[in-house]
Each structure stands twice: as structure tokens, then as C-alpha cells.
């Protein structure tokens, strides 16, 4: 007689001999085995100076332990009028899920291009930074799985770096490392760019120690810092390597440098 009790827990107890459960619900939710994200590894880094900004990224693209490509840039010029982006004044770096990064880059680029077309002047970094935030937040519930960094020169000609989380919260910073080796590079930057934990020798004991004065670094010194940061990251992180791409923004324009990194 147990078969008189339906399998359906909602209808336990004496029941009709046929199943009266609603014909549409087949019981339980279908499990989605498709996961729309992946991590393509790599790291990016941006440092702003008095009259320049440097944004850099390695050029390795990975899937798990495999290397997809040794040259797959994640630092892009944004909003130029030509396909070569020669006259661009903004730089975007994206690290995380490369397909989302590419989509985000193209969307921002189209928006900045339309801005120039409609207003007859290039977009400021500040405006672009705000806009990028709203783009990311617009996909709050299906985010672009990327850490973005936007760089350029502000209205006063000073270097500007804006960093983001995947859903659009952002702030302007002196420097920022993102991606796979962010946790390796960022402390190095804190120490070498913002002089954290550097004190003037013999200036006191304990908390009385005087901090080293914070001065903006010159461009060539920052370039060397970037190289060192990546050489170190390559040594200790398997997803970082192959090549280092650096975009250096000054009032003269954007200079691109490529340096080989270890390919192991």
C-alpha cells in the first residue's frame, strides 16, 4: 500500500493512485554545469608620477597550467581616432578573464570615441574614470571578471591612475598592482613608491621614528621599478612571464616599450 503514498513530499499521506503533481515542474532546479568565467592569469601594474603615468602588464595568457600565448597584450590605448590609436590619451589595463577584458576595452573605447565625435575634444581621465565605473556597475549581477586600471594625465597635466574592482568601485591612487601577482608586487610598490616602512636612520626610537619624506619619483626610476617588479613576479608566479609591455603616457603622447621576460 506504500505506493498509495506519493513520491512527492508535498503530497505525503493518503493519495490518489496517480501522480497529481503539477505537470510542468519536473522537480528541483536544473543544475547549470556551464561556468561562464575563466582566469587567464597575468599581472598589471600602474604608477603615476608628476608629469607621467606608466601602465604595464605582462603578455602571457594562460589556461590552467597551459600557456595560450606568449604575446597577448592586456594594456590598451583608449579613444584614439584611428585604428592604430596613435592620438589616444588614455590607457586601460585589464587582467582576469580575458574575454571580459576585451569586451570591456572595446566598449569603453567606443564610448570615448563617441564622446570625441560628439564633443569635438578628447575625454578627460577623470570623466573616463567615472564612466568606466558606471559601465562595470551596470553589470553588477553578471560582472566583467576583471581588475581594471585606467591611466592618463589629469587636467593639470599630472599623472593619474584609477583602479577598479570588478563591479566598479574605484579610487585614484599613486600606484596599483593587479592580477595574479598583485599580492607579490603591491607590497614592493608600497615600499618603493610610497616609501612605506622607510624611516630616517637615527631619527628616534619606536613610534618616534621619522618617516622618509615622500617625493614623486622621476620617470626613468619608475621604469626601472616596473621592470624589477615584473622580474620578481615572474620568478615566483607561474602565470606571469614571456613579455613586459609598458605604455608611458606623457604630454608628448604615449610611448610603448616591450621587454622580454623569462619564458619558463
Amino acid at each position: 500500500m506504500s505506493a498509495m503514498f506519493s513520491q512527492n513530499p508535498l503530497m505525503n499521506g493518503p493519495n490518489y493512485s496517480f501522480n497529481q503533481a503539477p505537470a510542468t515542474a519536473s522537480g528541483g532546479n536544473t543544475e547549470h554545469s556551464f561556468y561562464p568565467y575563466t582566469d587567464n592569469g597575468g599581472s598589471t601594474l600602474a604608477i603615476s608620477g608628476n608629469d607621467f603615468t606608466i601602465i604595464a602588464g605582462d603578455t602571457r595568457s594562460t589556461s590552467g597550467y597551459s600557456i595560450n600565448s606568449r604575446y597577448s597584450p592586456k594594456v590598451f590605448k583608449i579613444g584614439g581616432t584611428t585604428s592604430s590609436q596613435d592620438d589616444a590619451n588614455l590607457v586601460l589595463s585589464v587582467v582576469g578573464f580575458a574575454a571580459d577584458g576585451e569586451a570591456l576595452k572595446e566598449r569603453l573605447d567606443a564610448i570615448v570615441k563617441m564622446y570625441r565625435y560628439q564633443h569635438g575634444k578628447p575625454m578627460s581621465v577623470k570623466a573616463c574614470a567615472q564612466r568606466l565605473s558606471t559601465i562595470l556597475y551596470g553589470k553588477r549581477f553578471f560582472p566583467y571578471y576583471v581588475t581594471a586600471i585606467l591611466g592618463g594625465l589629469d587636467e593639470e597635466g599630472k599623472g593619474a591612475v584609477y583602479s577598479y574592482d570588478p563591479v566598479g568601485s574605484y579610487e585614484r591612487e599613486q600606484c596599483r598592482a593587479a592580477g595574479a601577482a598583485a599580492s607579490l608586487i603591491m607590497p614592493f610598490l608600497d615600499n618603493q613608491v610610497n616609501f612605506k616602512n622607510q624611516y630616517i636612520p637615527g631619527s628616534g626610537e619606536g613610534h618616534a621614528l621619522q618617516e622618509r619624506e615622500n617625493i614623486p619619483l622621476p620617470k626613468d626610476e619608475v621604469e626601472d621599478l616596473v621592470k624589477d617588479a615584473f622580474d620578481s613576479a615572474v620568478e615566483r608566479h607561474i602565470e606571469v612571464g614571456d613579455g613586459l609591455q609598458m605604455l608611458i603616457i606623457t604630454k608628448a603622447g604615449i610611448e610603448e616599450k616591450y621587454l622580454p621576460l623569462k619564458k619558463d
Partner: protein
């Protein structure tokens, strides 16, 4: 112009097979100041005469850059032209986005042609009151296209539309064979000369009232293009000066012909 029973909308033919609203739209093109376009083996140029509505106002915008590889000049209702150019901008951006390719000119011009045509076949719509010259380069080289409110588009070697453009067209027809092998500078000068022909008696070409747009190819493939560039104000001085000198000789020749 007299009214008749067949010009209330753009969907009704007259017994003579004419659509008056479309013809009136073409009249709007003839009200606009003249624009000239010429194409050679390597370049396509647009030259436009700008008007200022009154002494105190600025000069109107006659040439619009659409994308790296193309631009347009307009004669007629500027606001209608802006709608079309916005659409063309969208189309060219989306071509670059989905294919990573500069949109072929013929396809872009066809798309605005189709848009204009629908306006002539739907009740309650109004034809665009503007004519366009679209100049640009694509994989098949430099091109110049003419667009009319009727939705008609055609590829041209040289073309002039707008007020008094007949004079400019006459100049272009006379010099037709020369254009093919012209370099960039020569082509602009030809354009300005054509423009000058259509000028009213008391008018001169000045840096204020001239706009020039140039686009061309440098070599094989789309990577080696000279992107569409718009010249205004002092940037057109070099060419305007050349034409100002050149025409004195031409004028003499003309007068001699008349004498003999």
C-alpha cells in the same frame, strides 16, 4: 511654387509619375551652400563653402569626419545631415567592433540610401532635406559617393551639389581627365577652383568660408591609409592663396577668349 493636389505626402504619385515631396526635398539641397568632391587614384577630397547666417554668427559646419577612413560634406538641412552622420558613425563603429574592419564605403552609402528611400514610401514620413558627398577609402581604394534625398546614391569621379553648383560642375566636367592622376595637393586646388567658379560675383574664397577634407591611401592595404582629415581656418590658407593667385591668370585667359 504653386501647390497642387499631389504634394501633401511623399507616398502619392502625381499623374505624371512624380513625387513632389521628394522633389521639394531636392530643392532644399539646392538652398545649401555648395560642396565639391573629387577623387583620384590615391585620394578623395571634399571642399565646401561655408556660410554664416549673419555677421555675428559663426560659420556653419559643412564637413563631418565619420571614421578614420571616411567623411562627408553636406548641402541642405544641417540637422538632417547630423542624423545621417550619427547613423553612419554607428554603422562604421559597429563594423569595426564585429569584424575589426573599416566598413566598405559602398555598403555604408547604400545603408543611408535605403533609410532615405523608406522615408519616401511611408505615410507621415518626410524625406531627408539634405544631399551628401561621402568621400573615403577602403580595400578597393578611394571613393566618392553622392547621396540625394530620394535615396539615390551613385559613385562619382567628381561632383558638386548645393547652390549654384552648376558652375562648379562645369569646371569639373572640363577638367575631368586630369583628376585621375592628381596628387593630394592638386586635387584640393582643383576642388577650390571648382568652388570658386560657383561663387557669387562679390564673393571671394577666404580662410573663413572654406573647409577642406582629405583622405587617401599611402600604399597597399588598409593599414597604410592617410586618415580623413578636416582643415579649417588658417589650415586652408596655403590652398586658398594658391587659388587666389591662379585665378587671375585664368580670368585673363577667359577675357581673352571673350575678346577674340
Amino acid at each position: 511654387m504653386f501647390r497642387n493636389n499631389y504634394d501633401n505626402d511623399s507616398v502619392t504619385f502625381s499623374p505624371q509619375g512624380r513625387i513632389f515631396q521628394v522633389e521639394y526635398a531636392s530643392e532644399a539641397v539646392k538652398q545649401g551652400s555648395v560642396v565639391v568632391g573629387i577623387v583620384s587614384k590615391t585620394h578623395a577630397v571634399l571642399v565646401a563653402l561655408k556660410r554664416n547666417a549673419e555677421e555675428l554668427s559663426s560659420y556653419q559646419k559643412k564637413i563631418i569626419a565619420i571614421d578614420e577612413h571616411l567623411g562627408l560634406s553636406l548641402a541642405g538641412l544641417a540637422s538632417d545631415a547630423r542624423v545621417l552622420s550619427n547613423f553612419m558613425k554607428q554603422q562604421s563603429l559597429s563594423s569595426r567592433l564585429t569584424y575589426g574592419r573599416a566598413i566598405p564605403l559602398s555598403r555604408l552609402v547604400n545603408s543611408i540610401g535605403d533609410r532615405a528611400q523608406t522615408n519616401t514610401q511611408h505615410y507621415g514620413k518626410r524625406p531627408y532635406g539634405v544631399g551628401l558627398l561621402v568621400a573615403g577609402v577602403d580595400e578597393t581604394g578611394p571613393h566618392l559617393f553622392e547621396f540625394q534625398p530620394s535615396g539615390m546614391t551613385q559613385e562619382m569621379v567628381a561632383c558638386a551639389i548645393g547652390a549654384r553648383s552648376q558652375m562648379a560642375r562645369t569646371y569639373l566636367e572640363r577638367n575631368l581627365e586630369k583628376f585621375v592622376d592628381c596628387g593630394r595637393e592638386e586635387l584640393v586646388v582643383h576642388g577650390l577652383k571648382a568652388l570658386k567658379e560657383s561663387l557669387a560675383q562679390d564673393k571671394e574664397l577666404t580662410v573663413e568660408n572654406c573647409s577642406v577634407g582629405v583622405v587617401g591611401i599611402r600604399g597597399e592595404g588598409m593599414k597604410a591609409i592617410e586618415g580623413f582629415k578636416l582643415f579649417d581656418g588658417q589650415n586652408v590658407k596655403q590652398w586658398v592663396d594658391m587659388v587666389a593667385e591662379g585665378t587671375e591668370e585664368a580670368a585673363e585667359e577667359e577675357s581673352m577668349e571673350v575678346d577674340s
